[in-house]
């Protein structure tokens, strides 16, 4: 079974410039590993700046650099937080984040594993994300969460879409030999 939602590009042109960071889900509690998300996201952002050199003759160049760095750090952190938070505790498969450089855009792909039991709930959320006006959905989510103590703001994807003009896509794949788990790839394309 393979299902694709949103702007998931199966045939992304190969980029010679990419960075992949992998994590093996160990026995260390999520809370102790949490700091790694921010460190990895900031590292990706710092590393990427080598490819966007500061042109000192242009005043706007430094500002553009700062904007790209901040966007990469935000998006990579949100994607890693999601991948870590929703990864199934029984899965031994690695969690990964990849950043690719393309002409005019950056593409992020995270890979993690979720339980088959939560697939339909996640699919319903994705369907709302891809069919509703994201600006309206953003306000709706906040007003709704302000009424209760519900965990998970659901704002990560929406801020990427609204505030960073990112395009999002998802791929769900069966895992051979393990009926209880589904592999999720989340793709975010950021125009730069």
């Amino acid at each position: 079974m393979t299902r694709v939602f949103g702007h998931y590009c199966e045939r992304l042109p190969d980029s010679p410039e990419f960075l992949i960071i992998g994590f093996s889900p160990g026995s260390i509690p999520l809370r102790q590993r949490w700091r790694n998300n921010g460190l990895s996201a900031d590292f990706m952002a710092d590393y990427l700046m080598t490819f966007f050199p500061d042109d000192e003759s242009e005043e706007s160049s430094a500002q553009r650099q700062a904007e790209i760095k901040s966007a990469v750090s935000y998006i990579a952190n949100e994607l890693l937080e999601n991948a870590m938070k929703f990864n199934d505790a029984n899965s031994n498969l690695p969690i990964g984040i990849e950043l690719q450089l393309h002409e005019g855009s950056l593409t992020f792909v995270t890979r993690n594993t979720i339980s088959r039991e939560v697939v339909s709930e996640f699919e319903r959320y994705i369907e709302r994300l891809t069919s509703c006006d994201p600006q309206e959905l953003y306000i709706e989510q906040i007003e709704k969460s302000a009424l209760g103590d519900g965990n998970g703001s659901g704002l990560g994807y929406l801020t990427m879409m609204n505030d960073y003009a990112a395009q999002l896509g998802w791929k769900f794949e069966s895992i051979e030999g393990d009926e209880g788990l589904v592999a999720i790839s989340t793709m975010v394309r950021l125009p730069v």
Binding site: A66, K69, K85
Partner: protein, 120 residues
């Protein structure tokens, strides 16, 4: 209603302080906590601040370098609590040199149209 004295939460990564004299909450550093349980001490501080006797409350974010979406959710709820007071004005101070703020702070104004967003 009891007035909260000035108070603060400080860690290596961030600080959240409330100055009662100026009715200002300032968030500094990098806020990337994992969930609402982790954000709870800050949420409780903000809830107390949202109830102070004041004509106006200021949220100073000019030194908040990073905020994850859980943190955005927390600050949004704070703004909604102040909005419910109806008679209390809300100001938010942002920094033009911190890129995420230019992208995301306008959303607070969408939640509370009378919110005064000040840039420095």
């Amino acid at each position: 209603m009891t007035e909260p004295a000035s108070q603060e939460i400080r860690t290596d990564d961030y600080s959240v302080t409330y100055d009662d004299a100026t009715k200002t909450v300032a968030c500094q550093g990098s806020l990337r906590l994992s969930d609402m349980a982790e954000y709870k001490p800050i949420v409780e501080l903000l809830e107390r601040v949202s109830e102070v006797e004041a004509d106006g409350i200021t949220l100073d974010l000019t030194e908040l370098e990073f905020l994850n979406s859980s943190g955005i959710s927390m600050l949004s709820k704070f703004v909604i609590r102040v909005r419910h007071r109806k008679t209390v004005m809300m100001s938010v101070r942002g920094s033009q040199t911190i890129p995420w703020q230019g992208k995301s702070l306008k959303n607070l104004q969408r939640l509370m149209p009378t919110l005064d967003l000040q840039w420095s």
